[in-house]
C-alpha cells in the first residue's frame, strides 16, 4: 500500500522502457530482441492476471496455464475455420475462458489453501489431456499456424514490431484495468475476503460471488495472453497448458512481489530474461534460477519490488 504513489512512476518508467525497446533493437541490429520482448510481454499479461487473484484474492491458482492454452487454441481453431480477425480470436478466447473459469472456479472455490491449489491444477491437467487427445489439431504435437491473426483485415501483425506494440498496448490497458479493479468497491471486497472471509460475511458480503468473478476476470485476461503468445510463436500445442507453465506463472508473481500488479510484470520480465541469459551460461540454468529465486524470497518478502523499497 505504501508504494502506490511511487507505483505510478515505476509503471511509467517500465512501460516507457518497453516502448523504446524496438528502437534499441534497430540500433543494435538485433531483431531477436523484439521477439524475446514480445514473449515477455505475453507472459507479463498472464502474470498480471494471476497476481490479481493470487495477490489480492488469496487464490493460488496452479492451473492458470490452461487459460494460456485456451487463448492459443482459440487462434488455432478459428484460423483453420478461416476466421483470422484478432478481435474475433480475442472474443472467442475470452468467452471460452469465462466458461471454463466459471465452471472450474465455482467448484474450486468450495475449497481453500492446498486443496484449492490441487483442484485448479487438476482442472488444468484435464484441459491439457483434452487437447493432447484432440488429434484434429495435432494432438500432442500441436499445430503450426499458417499466418498470424489479422487486424481490421490487414496482415500487419506479421511484422514482429507491430505484434510487439499490439501486445504492449494490451498489457498497459490490462494493467490499468487491474489497478482500477483493485482500488474499486469490488477490489475492496476481494481483498477483504482474503484478509478475513468470516468478517466479510459478518458485515453482509458473500465472498464467493466476488471471488468467482475475480477468478473469471483473471482467466479471461490470461486467455488474451494466450492469443498473443500463439501469434508470437505461430505454433500452438498442449505444452501451453502444461503444469510446468502454471508453476512458472506462480514463480513470476512471487518473484516480482505478490499483490502489487507491477511486480508481476517485472517478475515475468526478469524471470524470462534470466532464463535467456542463464541458458547461455550453462545447460543447468534452472539450478541457478532456483538459487536466485530462493535468495529473492528469503531476503525480500515482497519479491523484487521489495528490493526497491528498502528494508522495513
Amino acid at each position: 500500500m505504501r508504494l502506490i504513489p511511487n507505483r505510478a512512476w515505476a509503471a511509467t518508467i517500465l512501460f516507457t522502457a518497453f516502448a523504446v525497446l524496438p528502437f534499441l533493437a534497430v540500433a543494435l541490429d538485433d531483431s531477436y530482441l523484439v521477439v524475446i520482448a514480445s514473449r515477455i510481454l505475453c507472459y507479463a499479461i498472464a502474470a498480471l492476471a494471476l497476481d490479481l487473484i493470487l495477490g489480492y484474492g488469496g487464490m493460488v491458482s496452479f492451473g492458470h496455464a490452461a487459460y494460456l492454452g485456451i487463448g492459443a487454441y482459440a487462434v488455432a481453431i478459428l484460423s483453420r475455420a478461416g476466421i483470422t480477425d484478432l478481435g474475433l480470436h480475442m472474443l472467442a478466447a475470452i468467452a471460452a475462458a469465462a466458461v471454463f473459469a466459471l465452471v472450474t472456479g465455482a467448484i474450486s472455490l468450495r475449497t481453500r489453501g492446498i486443496y484449492f491449489i490441487m483442484i485448479t491444477l487438476a482442472f488444468a491437467q484435464m484441459a491439457y489431456f483434452f487437447f493432447v487427445s484432440l488429434s484434429a489439431y495435432g494432438g500432442d504435437d500441436g499445430v503450426t499456424l499458417n499466418a498470424r491473426s489479422t487486424l481490421f483485415g490487414q496482415t500487419i501483425l506479421e511484422d514482429d514490431t507491430a505484434l510487439y506494440y499490439t501486445v504492449l498496448v494490451l498489457l498497459i490497458g490490462l494493467y490499468l484495468l487491474a489497478v482500477a479493479i483493485t482500488r474499486s468497491r469490488f477490489g475492496r471486497v476481494l481483498t477483504g475476503a482474503r484478509e478475513n472471509p468470516v468478517r466479510m460475511q459478518a458485515i453482509g458480503f458473500s465472498p464467493f460471488r466476488y471471488q468467482l468473478t475475480a477468478f473469471i476476470i483473471s482467466g479471461c485476461m490470461t486467455a488474451i495472453a494466450g492469443v498473443m503468445l500463439a501469434n508470437q510463436t505461430s505454433y500452438v500445442s498442449p505444452a501451453f497448458m502444461n503444469w510446468h507453465r502454471s508453476g512458472e506463472l506462480v514463480v513470476m508473481v512471487v518473484f516480482g512481489g505478490i499483490g502489487n500488479l507491477l511486480g508481476a510484470v517485472a517478475g515475468a520480465t526478469i524471470a524470462l530474461l534470466l532464463e535467456e541469459w542463464l541458458a547461455v551460461l550453462t545447460e543447468h540454468w534452472p539450478l541457478l534460477f532456483g538459487l536466485i529465486l530462493v535468495l529473492v524470497v528469503l531476503y525480500s518478502r515482497d519479491g523484487l519490488s521489495g528490493l526497491f523499497r528498502g528494508r522495513r
Binding site: 469490488f186 475492496r188 484478509e195 459478518a202
Partner: protein, 249 residues
C-alpha cells in the same frame, strides 16, 4: 411480537447438547443480557443466531421472518449483526477502511470495478462517524492490525454499528479491555440502548447489571431464568447454578 423469537433451538456436538431446546424472546429496543458459566453455550448461541454455524433444529424468527437456513451475510442484510468474542477485523486495512467496508455492504452494489472506493466520501463520512462514536476516530488511518487490543475491541463494535443493525449481538465486547476502554465501551452501549436492540453476552457482571433491561441465564444449553436484573439477582435457581459459585458462602 418480539423482535427476536427463538424456539426449540438445538445443536449437538456428538453426544454433547450445546444448545438444548432453547427458547428466547428479545423485545424491540431492550438490552437483553445473556449470562452463564463458562461452557454454558453462549458463544455457540450467538453463532447459531447470526448464522455462522448451523443448527440441528428449531426456529429463529427475526421481525417475524424465519432466519433458519439463511447464511450469515443474508441475516446481516436483514438487520441482524454481531461482534466477535475473539476480535475479527481486516488487519491489513486501516480502521477507516474496516468500517467503510461495512457501510459499503449496505449501500449499493459492490460489483463496481472502475471508480476508486477510497474516494467515496459517503462511505468514509459514515465510517468516521462510527469510529467517533466508539472513541477511536483518531485511529482512522492506522492499520487495524497495529491497534491495541482495546482499540480493536472498539473497532469491532464500530464495524458492527456501521452495518446499521436493528439487532446487535455482542459477544463479550469487554473481553480483555483495560478499565478506561471498558468504561468507554459501556458508555457506547448505554448510548445505543433504545436505538438498537442489543443482545449482550458478557462476563463483567457489573457491566451486565448496570446496562441490562432483562437478563437470561444460560446453563448447559438451556435458559433457566429470564427477568429484570433484580429478579435475576434474587432468583434462587440462578444463585445455585451460577452466582452461587462466585459468592460461595
Amino acid at each position: 411480537m418480539s423482535l427476536l423469537e427463538v424456539r426449540n433451538l438445538r445443536k449437538s456436538y456428538g453426544a454433547l447438547k450445546v444448545t438444548d431446546d432453547l427458547d428466547l424472546s428479545v423485545e424491540e429496543g431492550e438490552l437483553h443480557a445473556i449470562i452463564g458459566p463458562n461452557g454454558a453455550g453462549k458463544s455457540t448461541l450467538i453463532a447459531q443466531l447470526s448464522g455462522q454455524s448451523g443448527s440441528d433444529g428449531g426456529s429463529v424468527r427475526f421481525d417475524g421472518t424465519e432466519m433458519m437456513g439463511r447464511a450469515m451475510h443474508r441475516r446481516v442484510r436483514a438487520g441482524m449483526s454481531r461482534s466477535f468474542q475473539i476480535t475479527s477485523i481486516l488487519p491489513g486495512f486501516t480502521a477507516l477502511e474496516n468500517v467503510a467496508s461495512a457501510v459499503q455492504a449496505r449501500s449499493g452494489s459492490s460489483f463496481r470495478f472502475f471508480s476508486p472506493v477510497a474516494e467515496e466520501s459517503a462511505l468514509n463520512d459514515q465510517a468516521l462517524a462510527a469510529l467517533d462514536r466508539v472513541g477511536i476516530a483518531d485511529r482512522a488511518f492506522f492499520n487495524a492490525g497495529s491497534l491495541s487490543h482495546g482499540e480493536k475491541r472498539q473497532l469491532e463494535l464500530a464495524i458492527a454499528l456501521a452495518t446499521r443493525p436493528r439487532l446487535l449481538l455482542l459477544d463479550e465486547p469487554l473481553a480483555g479491555t483495560s478499565g478506561a476502554e471498558a468504561d468507554r465501551l459501556v458508555e457506547v452501549m448505554r448510548g445505543l440502548k433504545g436505538a438498537v436492540t442489543l443482545v449482550l453476552i458478557e462476563h463483567d457482571m457489573d457491566a451486565v447489571f448496570a446496562l441490562a433491561d432483562r437478563i437470561s441465564v444460560l446453563v448447559y444449553g438451556r435458559i433457566i431464568a429470564t427477568g429484570t436484573p433484580d429478579q435475576i439477582r434474587d432468583d434462587p435457581q440462578v444463585r445455585a447454578a451460577y452466582l452461587g459459585e462466585e459468592e460461595g458462602t
